[in-house]
């Protein structure tokens, strides 16, 4: 089901977030990569599983850390036409979180569906 565009076929990309924000630089780096990828008109999917779900937890306040709170930037993704955000139900459950705890609209899917979705991708980047 590949659409042609000038320069080549559109590929299915998935960025898989598995780490919480702030402790390491992974979450921010992946977010920046996702924003940059929007310039290339690919079919971008962003997944949050394991501790990655904490990246989009509501109410983050980093003032005391002296670290930039980049969680509002996830809400900018829509403006970059990146609207395929997936969160794994089991990962939320394990952490006592629900969809209502998340700061951006997402599709909550089961672990099994997440695994299937990964199988449909051309390129997967996990961090």
């Amino acid at each position: 089901m590949e659409e042609e565009f000038e320069g080549g076929a559109v590929k299915k990309f998935m960025y898989v977030n598995r780490k919480p924000p702030y402790g390491t630089v992974y979450a921010l780096e992946v977010l920046e990569m996702v924003l940059i990828s929007a310039a290339f008109d690919q079919d971008v999917h962003v997944a949050f599983l394991d501790d990655g779900v904490y990246q989009i937890k509501k109410g983050q306040d980093t003032k005391e850390l002296g670290h930039k709170n980049f969680s509002p930037t996830y809400r900018a993704l829509e403006g970059y036409d990146i609207e395929k955000l997936y969160v794994e139900q089991e990962s939320l459950d394990e952490r006592g979180l629900t969809e209502a705890d998340l700061l951006v609209p997402v599709e909550v899917i089961s672990r099994a569906d997440m695994a299937r979705l990964m199988g449909e991708m051309d390129v997967i980047l996990t961090a």
Binding site: I36, A39, R75, A76, Y80
Partner: protein, 110 residues
């Protein structure tokens, strides 16, 4: 590099983007604009203020494509066009307007 406004030195990176966004003020914006060869008009301010609001909400400087679309949504298709924005900021609305607004270089600007 650094800017000097009202006897105060304000640090910027080698391309002229502010190191600390909180040091921005309107006088500084005028100065940065002048360095870019731009005389600030109400139309320039409208875009610069839009960028500052965007940054306050999303914590990033938008890519030009995203900026254009967001401006079209808020101010209409006339202003939300590459033509209009490039006339105001000939070297790129993303790069120049962000610099004048005290924001970092746009994310997703390639």
């Amino acid at each position: 590099m650094a800017y000097s406004v009202a006897g105060k030195t304000i640090d910027a990176d080698e391309e002229g983007y502010l190191v600390d966004i909180n040091q921005w003020n309107e006088e500084l914006a005028d100065l940065i604009a002048k360095d870019e060869g731009i005389t600030m008009s109400p139309e320039h301010w409208e875009v610069v203020n839009f960028l500052r609001d965007y940054y306050a909400e999303y914590q990033i400087a938008p890519a030009v494509r995203v900026l254009t679309k967001a401006i079209a949504k808020k101010m209409g298709p006339e202003k939300g066009s590459n033509k209009y924005l490039y006339e105001l900021f000939p070297y790129g609305p993303g790069k120049q307007a962000c610099k004048i607004a005290g924001l970092p270089k746009p994310t997703g600007c390639v």
